[in-house]
């Protein structure tokens, strides 16, 4: 049964991605299909490895990145110290602090010590440090559901605000370059040689990227708020650890629509998870077809431009799609040229004007963690 839950508003946002500072820069890059050409070289292995990678420009350490992006989001939302006492902190990350642990361990080894791999291993430490630095007085939560992590952070933060347990939530997606992720995805043969081409017949995998993105969700409409998070859902797909099934994807989308009180035919556009791997795109395409039948709205993947930022993609891609739609268009899926007959659907090949209305956002993670969100202009 359809119902209209209390709305939750996006109160601005900030990001640091491979396209530099700001949501606007990343949105422009998506609309112009500017695909980064960077690579990362991993020395000190049995053989030197070079992989395509969407790195954040500059050399700010991860803790500094987090604080700067969080501070920009808080300032943009004009939260005062008194507001921060009723603000919760929700972080979604796949690799957490592992980049810092890699650096510390390597530094210890270089200095001639035996070294301890991963000192003080607390996965919630990043959130605790950030809350302290920003003066956030509400509870902290760290979600580590792989590539759906910060989408889940958005969903649970929105539910907290919907139920008036918090006034505001600072929600971050965080993913910093690390060797474990790069080498792990490579060992699974999931990294594309040169380009990410979601939904294309010749797609051959992902290109990883790093990002820190933050937004403030609030229960009250401000003059600057342009989007609201209407609802969402999370479901576990226990059929396969890494390949999502169309049935479970269709189910999580239907639950998200029900939570948002939105019918499938009202959806104006879909931001697909669209990793560019054979199995993810097939599962997602067939799942979308189950939900929308012959009326699939325009859809796209922006991972060819931003890279797959893993745990950060939930917040980053949500904000960047907002930025694109505020400019009037859903961006094309860069690199897509040829329909895969097994999928039978075609993403946006050119920037497509989208009228006002709800937008569906998909995020799927290893371990069968699927999350769909529904947002709409205020």
């Amino acid at each position: 049964m359809s119902r209209a839950p209390r709305p939750v508003y996006f109160n601005g946002g900030a990001s640091l991605s491979s396209h530099g500072w700001g949501i606007a820069a990343a949105a422009d890059a998506c609309l112009q299909q500017r695909v980064p050409q960077g690579r990362v070289v991993l020395p000190d292995l049995e053989s030197e490895i070079s992989l395509p990678y969407c790195a954040i420009p500059g050399s700010l350490p991860s803790a500094g990145r987090l604080q700067e992006v969080a501070a920009a989001a808080i300032a943009g939302a004009q939260l005062k110290a008194s507001d921060l006492s009723r603000t919760g902190l929700f972080i979604g990350t796949s690799s957490g602090d592992i980049a810092e642990h890699e650096r510390h361990y390597a530094a210890e080894r270089r200095s001639g010590q035996a070294g301890i791999a991963i000192r003080q291993p607390l996965h919630g430490a990043m959130a605790q440090r950030l809350a302290h630095a920003c003066g956030i007085g509400g509870p902290c939560y760290t979600f580590s559901t792989a590539c759906s992590a910060s989408a889940n952070a958005l969903l649970y933060a929105a539910w907290m605000i919907r139920e008036e347990r918090l006034d505001h939530a600072l929600v971050l997606g965080v993913e910093c370059q690390n060797r474990i992720s790069l080498l792990g995805f490579r060992s699974m043969l999931l990294v594309a040689r040169d380009a990410c081409r979601p939904f294309d017949a010749a797609r051959e995998g992902i290109i990883l990227g790093e990002a820190v993105a933050a937004t403030v969700l609030s229960g009250t409409l401000t003059a600057d708020a342009r989007w609201c998070l209407q609802g969402g859902a999370n479901l576990c797909d226990a059929t396969h650890p890494t390949n999502p099934s169309p049935e479970t994807i269709a189910q999580v989308i239907r639950l998200a629509l029900a939570d948002a009180g939105v019918a499938a035919q009202e959806i104006r556009a879909v931001k697909a998870h669209g990793t560019g791997t054979a199995s993810n795109d097939q599962g997602e395409a067939l799942g979308l077809r189950q939900v929308f039948a012959g009326n699939l709205p325009p859809f796209t993947s922006i991972k060819p431009v931003l890279g797959h930022t893993l745990g950060a993609c939930g917040v980053l891609e949500t904000l960047v799609v907002q930025g694109c739609l505020e400019r009037g268009d859903l961006p094309a899926t860069a690199g897509f040229t040829t329909v895969d007959p097994a999928l039978g659907i075609k993403p946006a090949m050119i920037s497509t004007p989208i009228g006002p209305g709800p937008v569906l956002l998909n995020f799927f993670g290893f371990g069968g963690n699927n999350c769909s969100l529904v947002m709409a202009p205020c």
Binding site: E46, G124, L183
Partner: protein, 238 residues
């Protein structure tokens, strides 16, 4: 308010050589689990013990896994492999350090298809999970909540890693709680304290251990959980 229907746990002090959990898992489940790591084995053991006490776990059950240091042993092993041997992680090593993977194996084994989360808060992960479970919007009628802490060997190195003294005892544990809002005869209920308690009654693993000990004891009264929760046994329970 959450109605607790059953719980199950494994809690053991670590000894110099690790106990083979695969043997225990095979004995308790009758199933061989291949290519999983110790953290997942621990999580499965605790969840299966909870299922044994519950009788059954409904397929629509939500699965929340709370921990302070997920997949620590394999993460250490991968880092050491890269740094000391120049070796990249194998596909299964990498997959198994993904935050959801323990939840996946439990859901797969128990036939669950509800929502799933892996979440953390420094020394308050159990409490954080309870807070989210209480959200009405999540619409969970049933939930399986676990708190898992894994041992890492050698123990001398683990003590340094955790900043503990050379003789400090170390433990590993897997505590699981099955909440069922439709249960007519819950053994306990957990609810917000109504206000933030000034001092945590316990922290981190101690919370989960304290809760299972409280539930298994003959005593009455209530148990404070972290800063914001209280557990109360229900007197009519057997």
């Amino acid at each position: 308010m959450l109605k607790l229907r059953a719980f199950g746990a494994l809690h053991q002090e670590l000894v110099p050589e690790p106990l083979d959990l695969r043997v225990l898992l095979k004995a308790e489940t009758g199933q061989n689990f291949r290519r999983i790591n110790r953290f997942i084995e621990l999580a499965l053991l605790g969840a299966c013990r909870c299922r044994q006490h519950a009788g059954e776990i409904s397929g629509d059950t939500a699965l929340y896994l709370a921990c302070d240091s997920p997949m620590l042993a394999d993460s250490v092993k991968i880092l050491q492999g890269m740094e000391l041997e120049g070796r990249a992680p194998s596909p299964f090593e990498f997959m198994n350090v993904s935050g959801n993977m323990a939840g996946y194996y439990i859901a797969n084994h128990l036939g669950l298809s509800g929502p799933q989360l892996a979440l953390h808060r420094n020394h308050e992960s159990l409490e954080a999970a309870l807070e989210l479970l209480m959200l009405h919007s999540a619409q969970h009628r049933r939930a399986l909540l676990g708190y898992v802490e894994e041992g890492v060997w050698p123990l001398s190195e683990q003590r340094v890693r955790l900043g503990l003294g050379a003789d400090a005892p170390l433990y590993e544990s897997s505590h699981w709680f099955y909440f069922d809002q439709d249960c007519a005869t819950p053994i306990a209920q957990i609810e917000p304290a109504g206000h933030d308690l000034a001092q945590p009654a316990a922290q981190g693993p101690a919370d989960a251990l304290a809760l299972t000990r409280y539930l298994g004891s003959a005593g009455t009264g209530e148990l404070r959980l972290g800063r914001r929760m209280v557990a109360r046994k229900i007197a009519t329970a057997a």
